[in-house]
């Protein structure tokens, strides 16, 4: 999906490059903030002070010094909560994204290359999965598994493996028909060996693109679950939880909604742009 394409290839490449760099830079920043959260957050994200409730951000009249982005209704520092919320977001993105990719891609590879009854079972499962509304499915799973980071990760893996399986299956089918696969078989490689050693590396670029996109989706899913109050315990700062609180008090304190929303927006946009940028880079037509 070449979003740009105004004139010639040079321009496309340059813009795609910039997109990659900007997205990568933002994500690196978020990851760094997540790692260093306890040392760089100006306040304790859980510290409440009812006398300092709903203080506006620093440039507005009535702001409280030290609370740069204002406070929420319980007097907790918005900036510190965003910084600590990055930890949950990044953990979910990395862990859930990677496990989903591993499981989904393996199933897709098996279905696409081994075909037969394996393909039949996996394809039918994908059909069934596609008939579930994903948000409702994830909420249902969290209700079953109980709140917590592990539950969120499991829910994302259980729901989103089809994203990888569908695409990798199609890719593996296309690769399986190629000559190099036939010659590997003639040269004496077994079916499983061919699948892992010959086809696997050739579907890796596709998996990398999907994984980047999946990380953005995982961040959103975590935010949605926090929003409906089913994420990790309500005290721990998460972007979605902050957004839920901000939505409820949007007429009294816009900053409680705006700052976590902007952070989440940029992060999701960055993952998505990074994925699209990688897709262009791997696309032989644009190379």
């Amino acid at each position: 999906m070449a979003v740009e394409g105004i004139d010639g290839r040079g321009r496309v490449r340059r813009r795609a490059g910039m997109r990659l760099w900007l997205s990568g830079l933002w994500l690196a920043l978020v990851a760094l903030v997540a790692l260093l959260a306890p040392w760089i957050a100006p306040k304790d994200p859980l510290m409440q002070d009812l006398f300092l409730g709903r203080m506006p951000p620093f440039w507005t009249p009535g702001a409280e010094p030290g609370f740069w982005l204002g406070t929420d209704s319980l007097g907790r520092d918005v900036l510190s909560r965003i910084i600590h919320g990055a930890r949950v977001a990044m953990t979910v993105a990395l862990v859930a994204g990677t496990i989903t990719a591993l499981i989904g891609a393996t199933l897709g590879l098996m279905a696409g290359f081994l075909r037969g009854w394996v393909d039949l079972v996996i394809s039918r499962m994908i059909d069934i999965w596609m008939a579930f509304p994903p948000v409702l499915f994830s909420i249902l799973l969290i209700a079953v598994l109980g709140p917590g980071l592990t539950s969120i990760i499991i829910a994302i893996v259980v729901i989103d493996w089809t994203r990888f399986a569908r695409v990798v299956r199609a890719e593996a089918m296309a690769q399986g028909a190629m000559d190099y696969v036939a010659s590997a078989r003639v040269a004496g490689r077994g079916r499983i060996g061919t699948m892992l050693v010959e086809i696997g590396p050739n579907v890796l670029p596709t998996i990398a693109v999907l994984l980047t996109l999946e990380m953005g989706i995982a961040v959103i899913v975590e935010a949605i679950l926090s929003f409906v109050n089913l994420s990790i315990s309500t005290d721990d700062p998460t972007w979605g939880g902050m957004i839920a609180e901000g939505r409820a008090s949007v007429h009294q304190a816009w900053w409680v909604l705006v700052f976590p929303l902007v952070t989440l927006f940029l992060t999701v946009l960055a993952f998505s742009q990074l994925g699209e940028g990688l897709k262009d880079r791997f696309d032989p037509v644009l190379r």
């Binding site: 069934i128 008939a131 579930f132 509304p133 409702l136 079953v144």
Partner: protein, 335 residues
């Protein structure tokens, strides 16, 4: 063709049964006894046992499933534990709200995407097309949930022109006989009510529409630009027709088919998105009821709603496939 249709119906049935089994198993693993939640504090063991038996929760899983299937075949989806009303009545009562929202979103998406594609084609290879491409890319990258929040801030708080919660202003007197408020207010020529309903529905519908509009815009523009190079288009140009006529009358009818198929598939994603968007805008539809049902551990209700969603999804997919087969001559034989 007939064989393909039958095969498709069979796989659809298998999918629905699969969904039913999975939901049934999953929600019965839910920790937290719904019966305990229903009874007042101080209820005796016997009360618990009696209610458990009443809802059939004391039987084995396969037995419960069979009883449930028997009921469903007769149109009985069980009784909601929290609302104490038949699940079917509750679900059908909320379905119109969700359908109206989804269809409104679909219409907005087609309009926005169509305008973007046509403008992009008319002004191709200019800065305008570049701007449209960038806007499309942004709209695609961010899901409906975030667009909803941004719209709440922009048009509910910053410039408060639309309502941001509910389906209709609660103080209004509603004369409606059905739950298709939007449709019925038009039929009854109550434009005051219609305006109020639209003002409530517009932002959630727009939030759902934005990502789909981007997809439509991209694909339609792409196929329009491809069509613009074909001989018959050049011919109509040499006949002296203007650029607008060429795009709208000559290129568009031929470019629209691939987009239509995609819209069908994407429409199911849009319907899935209503769950969280309804929650975000406190819109009284199926999705909002579903989230409440999960939080309240209302097993029969959860089951009914998920099955209904699955039926809608597979029905939309089925219709898309059959329409495509009917419209595309290459698939008409043998399929």
């Amino acid at each position: 063709m007939l064989r393909a249709v039958v095969l498709r119906l069979v796989t659809t049935a298998i999918t629905l049964i699969g969904v039913a089994v999975i939901v049934f198993v999953v929600i019965r693993v839910v920790p937290g006894n719904p019966i305990a939640l229903m009874l007042p504090p101080g209820a005796t063991e016997e009360d618990v046992a009696r209610l458990t038996a009443l809802y059939g929760l004391d039987k084995s899983l396969p037995a419960q499933f069979l009883i449930w299937v028997q009921g469903v075949v007769q149109g009985d989806f069980g009784t909601s534990i929290t609302a104490r009303q038949p699940v079917l009545d509750l679900v059908l009562g909320r379905l119109p709200a969700t359908l109206e929202l989804s269809v409104m979103a679909l219409v907005i998406a087609c309009l926005l995407g169509g305008v973007a594609a046509l403008t992009g084609t008319r002004r191709r290879d200019t800065k305008v097309e570049g701007a449209i491409d960038v806007a499309n890319g942004m709209a695609l990258s961010v899901p409906d949930f975030l667009w909803g929040l941004i719209l709440i801030l922009a048009f509910g708080v910053l410039i408060p022109v639309f309502h941001i919660s509910g389906r209709v202003t609660p103080s209004l007197d509603l004369p409606f006989a059905t739950n298709f408020y939007l449709f019925e207010s038009l039929l009854r020529l109550r434009f005051d009510l219609w305006a109020d309903i639209v003002s409530h529905m517009f932002l959630p519908a727009l939030a759902l529409a934005i990502p789909l509009a981007a997809i439509i815009g991209q694909l339609l523009k792409q196929s329009l630009k491809e069509t613009m190079h074909l001989d018959y288009v050049t011919l109509s140009r040499t006949k002296g027709y203007g650029e607008n006529h060429v795009i709208l009358r000559e290129a568009l009818p031929n470019a629209v088919l691939p987009t239509l198929t995609l819209v069908g598939v994407q429409f199911t994603f849009l319907i899935g998105g209503t769950v969280i968007i309804e929650r975000l805008f406190s819109y009284e539809g199926l999705g909002n009821m579903a989230i409440d049902a999960v939080i309240n551990r209302d097993l029969p209700l959860i089951q009914g709603i998920v099955i209904l969603f699955a039926v809608i999804f597979t029905a939309v997919n089925l219709i898309v496939d059959l329409t495509y087969a009917a419209l595309n001559p290459r698939l008409r034989h043998g399929g």
